[in-house]
């Protein structure tokens, strides 16, 4: 596992924490966003993880 892969993982984690646990969550945690907003945010984070995983996979080859 290269240091770039580790850095990517921490970056992804930091971004997710920012979206989920910082005051930024107030941007999406509003009824006007619709009841599915949390799930869409969640799905975006999953896709981010998958994308980082693919990047890491190529990087580790």
């Amino acid at each position: 596992m290269s240091s770039r892969s580790r850095a990517l993982a921490w970056l992804g984690f930091g971004a997710a924490v920012l979206v989920l646990a910082s005051p930024l969550k107030l941007l999406w945690a509003r009824p006007v966003m619709g009841w599915m907003a949390p799930f869409l945010i969640w799905l975006a984070l999953i896709l981010l993880g998958a994308w980082l995983g693919r990047s890491r996979g190529r990087d580790d080859l």
């Binding site: 580790r6 993982a9 997710a16 989920l20 949390p38 999953i46 993880g49």
Partner: protein
């Protein structure tokens, strides 16, 4: 609609039977390995995270805390983003060191049995209420569907079924290295079942209750507060603390650790789980708001925890209700089975094994049956707690309290993966502080709400913490105190060398550096040493297994390889008995000489680290320098042997291997145990206070050689003093030979100069004597005087001949006397020399065979070469009896002609053989030789860059071997 409890029990039994069948089919290989070991199966098995709390309790949780219920899964998503930096390193440690549980991991890293015991007890305490909750959920669901039946009986029946499955498919193997593929497959299947079941409920709620998405949208428009209620806790509730505890729970819960690390086949499962596991959780939770709203629409005021069942029970078909019920059974059974197995493994390794009496009992059977017994005991304990708790608590509350307990292991895990200074004592005291706070701020308020304790025990309430933030307060108080105590103590206390070594293993992915030399000599000794503790059969099997793992031969004796075998054996025993027991057993049976800091082993370990590609944390430049220095030492033309402080061989370079014939694989061996005679020679020299010594010893080829040994003491390497010494072995054999030749040449040159000087000084008076004698002779008439004067002239002439020969000798080899070099036939030159020899009466009585042929042509001074043959043939004739044959033969050898002059005469005595080329040395009678013939031959041959050897045996003849340059081309 109600169901008969017997029918439900039969259905649950059938479902578990299906699981049995699936697990058995996987174990027997009926399901292809490419399916059973597919990364998706491993990733889906992590769905064991979703227990009845998720299945039933999420709706209730969402009802009271809105979207805060999602934090339990969003925390997992956060954890999955850290798969490469947290999960994979833990997986690597678990696999390489066969660590079956979190307690094993902590005990391994912190080298502390107490830490292992503490982790086991804390996890047991945190998990039992959670297990009880699962039993309650299943019993409650049966009760709801049947409207009757004793929860106690239903719970007991469920526990017994689960125990049977866990014993059969989860405790089949006794060691962590053997995976339970059937269990993994069954748990993955259960994940799919509960997902499909919950989606089915969601679909039923959407289409059965709201008549589709449009109906739902209309209902939401009519009830805008429904969405607002979901969002409000995100802004005001304990969102952050819930994210934190679920982040920790994703991989620290016993069942999660078990499926992610203990049962994982490879890294691919975790890499896949990084996205598939959160996606599974998302799908699982997608229908929760719809079910909640459907429940509220249909059964306002009802128990939200039961909406999943009540919606389908009253509105759906019987089959669908049964399927939803099975989803709940599935969620509960998967969670209970895996949790109980993980807890049983921890209890076995940290509470039971160390108290096992050593002896001849079958260890494998003991482990297998004790683990099974532990499974049953833990399940019964959870069942007992279920009876005590009853209906007092909501599902979610018990789950959250367990999560907060599990989060207490985060600081310790941080120490495992990232912080070298973290020590066992600091982690243990941090845990005690954290769990203390957990009991005070999380468990006690729960017991107060359950009316087991008085209101005075609700410390958060007494401190004025709002009920909404009670969990956050408990989380941060416990985790904060834990981390503070651990951090402060870690900074104050110095970790032991063992802890530092393990930190290197865990953080740098390095190999454990050996700290001494093994006191056994063979794998057979391993078996003998371990038999008293493990029993003879188990000891033999474990040693054989370690030999197979390390690919070592049964007669391996190399110390470094035996050390590797010991390490592997310890790892295997760790998978069997836990790291602390394994270390104790191996340390007791296979002792290391701790006084010996084996530098050689350390260097070997570093080499291993480099060769296995784990150099990512070593600077490339440092590695290059290391390699360069190693190559310099290896390629030195002098033998180098570096010896560690314990006198084991650290370095044995190529030159030394060639000199001694002892291969460089002796690295790691004790000096005294090297093959004779070099082992004893070097060992004695290492102990000798003298810094240098010359000696004669056998060389690699078998012949004796002359050697110079020097040594120098090393200090400071690896921070240890003394660090051993380095011994240089220089082969002086060639040099001694060259020095003897040089000495000989110098002596010959000196004699030559002396001869020239003598000839010059004697020549002039001799000429005067001859002249005077001639004058006197011509003047004398007396015949007697004339005859005497003639005698004087004869003797003067003889002296003149000798002087002339001396002059010739003295001038031989100087360029002034050399004729121009030319090409000539060797055979013809020998023929000419033979003809000249035959002119002498000594030459006529011998048969001289010229077998040189006509094909070889020399390049040089033909006249002087013929002189060489004349002198050699004269000597051969003088040494041989009459009529004895003398042979001259020649053959090409590269760019040289190899010529032999063979006689069968008296030979040259060994004691004078080294002097025959000296001027004036002769073995002939006085007056028959000047002693200059062979000296002249030697000089002429040397001038032609040839070589000359004498092979002679007294009484058997002599062979003179000449090597002269052939004409080029």
């Amino acid at each position: 609609m109600t169901f008969d409890s017997a029918v439900l029990l039969a259905i649950a039994l059938s479902y578990l039977g299906l699981l049995f069948l699936l697990a058995e089919a996987t174990e027997r290989g009926w399901i292809p390995a490419r399916i059973a070991r597919h990364p998706w199966v491993g990733a889906l098995s992590l769905g064991v995270y979703a227990s009845t709390w998720s299945y039933y309790g999420s709706v209730g949780f969402a009802g009271s805390e809105g979207y805060s219920y999602l934090t339990i899964y969003l925390g997992v998503t956060l954890a999955c983003l850290l798969v490469p930096v947290v999960w994979l390193p833990v997986l690597r440690l678990s696999r390489e060191h066969q660590l079956a549980s979190l307690a094993d991991l902590f005990a391994f890293r912190y080298r502390s049995a107490q830490v292992g015991v503490a982790v086991t007890l804390f996890l047991l305490a945190g998990s039992l209420p959670y297990l009880a909750q699962q039993i309650r959920a299943v019993a409650a669901s049966v009760h709801l569907l049947t409207g009757r039946g004793s929860p106690a009986f239903l719970g007991l029946a469920f526990c017994l079924l689960i125990a049977a499955f866990a014993v059969m498919f989860g405790a089949r193997h006794v060691t962590a290295r053997e995976k339970h593929a059937g269990l993994v497959m069954a748990i993955a299947f259960e994940s799919v079942v509960k997902l499909v079941a919950l989606l089915s409920v969601g679909a039923f709620a959407l289409f059965g209750v709201f008549d589709g998405p449009a109906g739902l949208a209309a209902w939401l428009r009519a009830h805008p507060e429904a969405v607002e209620e979901l969002y409000r806790p995100v802004r005001d509730g304990p969102w952050g603390s819930l994210l934190l505890v679920s982040f920790a729970a994703a991989f620290l819960l016993p069942r999660q650790y078990h499926m992610a690390f203990t049962e994982a086949h490879d890294e691919r499962s975790l890499r896949t789980a990084a996205w598939l596991f959160p996606l599974f959780l998302l799908l699982l939770n997608l229908s929760i708001p719809i079910i909640l709203w459907a429940g509220r629409a249909e059964y306002p005021g009802g128990d939200a925890d039961a909406y999943v069942l009540t919606i389908t029970l009253h509105g759906g078909s019987a089959w669908m209700t049964v399927f939803i019920f099975l989803g709940g059974v599935s969620a509960a059974s998967a969670m209970i089975i895996v949790s109980v197995l993980a807890l049983a493994s921890m209890c076995m390794n940290h509470l039971i094994v160390r108290r096992r009496p050593a002896g001849d009992t079958d260890l494998y059977a003991f482990l297998r049956w004790t683990r099974r017994l532990l499974v049953v005991v833990i399940l019964l304990a959870a069942y007992g707690l279920f009876l005590v708790i009853g209906e007092n608590q909501r599902l979610v509350e018990l789950g959250l309290v367990s999560f907060v307990a599990v989060a207490q292991f985060l600081p310790g895990l941080f120490g495992v993966l990232f912080w070298r200074r973290a020590s066992g004592r600091s982690v243990l005291l941090g845990l005690v502080a954290g769990i203390g706070c957990w009991l005070l701020f999380a468990v006690a308020p729960l017991l107060v709400r359950s009316r087991y304790l008085g209101a005075g025990f609700d410390l958060p309430a007494l401190l004025g913490v709002p009920a909404l933030h009670s969990l956050s307060f408990a989380t941060f108080a416990s985790l904060g105190s834990n981390a503070l105590v651990m951090g402060w103590l870690s900074l104050r206390l110095t970790p032991s060398a063992e802890e530092m070594a393990m930190a290197r293993v865990c953080i740098d992915a390095g190999e454990p550096l050996p700290t001494g030399r093994l006191e056994v000599d063979s794998p057979e000794d391993f078996t003998r040493a371990l038999a008293p503790v493990l029993g003879p059969d188990v000891a033999a099997r474990e040693v054989a297994r370690a030999l197979a793992d390390t690919e070592l031969a049964a007669d391996e004796s190399h110390p470094a390889e035996l050390r590797r075998l010991r390490d592997q054996l310890q790892r295997n025993l760790s998978g069997l008995l836990g790291p602390i027991a394994a270390e104790g057993i191996v340390d007791a049976g296979l002792r290391l000489d701790q006084g010996a800091g084996s530098v050689g082993e350390k260097m070997r370990a570093l080499e291993l680290v480099a060769s296995t590609g784990r150099r990512q944390d070593l600077a490339a430049e440092l590695d290059q320098v290391r390699r360069y220095l190693r190559d310099v030492l290896e390629d030195l033309p002098v033998g180098v042997c570096a010896v560690g402080p314990d006198e084991d061989v650290v370095l044995w370079n190529r030159a030394l291997a060639e000199i001694t014939g002892v291969a460089d694989s002796v690295t790691g061996s004790a000096l005294a145990r090297l093959p004779p005679p070099w082992g004893s020679i070097l060992d004695a020299f290492a102990r000798d206070p003298a810094g240098a010594r010359k000696l004669t010893a056998p060389r690699a080829g078998g012949d004796d050689g002359r050697f110079q040994l020097r040594k120098s003491r090393l200090a400071g390497a690896f921070g240890e003093a003394p660090a051993g010494q380095v011994i240089l072995v220089e082969d002086l054999t060639e040099r001694a030979s060259l020095e003897a030749k040089l000495e000989h040449h110098e002596r010959l040159a000196l004699i030559g100069q002396l001869a020239a000087s003598v000839a010059h000084e004697v020549g002039n008076p001799l000429a005067a004597i001859a002249s005077v004698a001639q004058n006197l002779q011509s003047e004398q008439r007396d015949a007697d005087v004339v005859q005497r004067l003639q005698l004087i002239r004869d003797q003067v002439e003889r002296i003149g001949g000798i002087v002339k020969a001396m002059v010739v000798y003295s001038r031989a080899g100087t360029s002034a006397t050399l004729s121009p070099a030319s090409r000539f036939s060797l055979g013809e030159a020998v023929d000419e020399a033979v003809s000249l020899v035959r002119l002498d009466p000594r030459g006529r009585v011998h048969v001289i065979h010229n077998r040189c042929g006509g094909g070889l042509h020399l390049y040089g001074d033909r006249t002087r070469i013929i002189q060489v043959f004349i002198n050699l043939l004269h000597n051969a004739c003088d040494a041989s009896p009459e009529e004895e044959a003398i042979e001259v033969r020649a053959r090409p050898g590269g760019d040289r002609a190899l010529i032999e002059i063979v006689d069968h005469g008296a030979g040259v005595a060994a004691e004078v053989r080294h002097r025959i080329f000296e001027p004036f040395f002769t073995t002939k009678e006085a007056g028959k030789g000047t002693g200059l013939g062979l000296s002249l031959v030697y000089n002429i041959v040397r001038d032609h860059e040839g070589t000359l050897e004498v092979d002679s045996r007294s009484g058997k003849g002599t062979t003179i071997r000449l090597s002269l340059p052939l004409e080029a081309g």
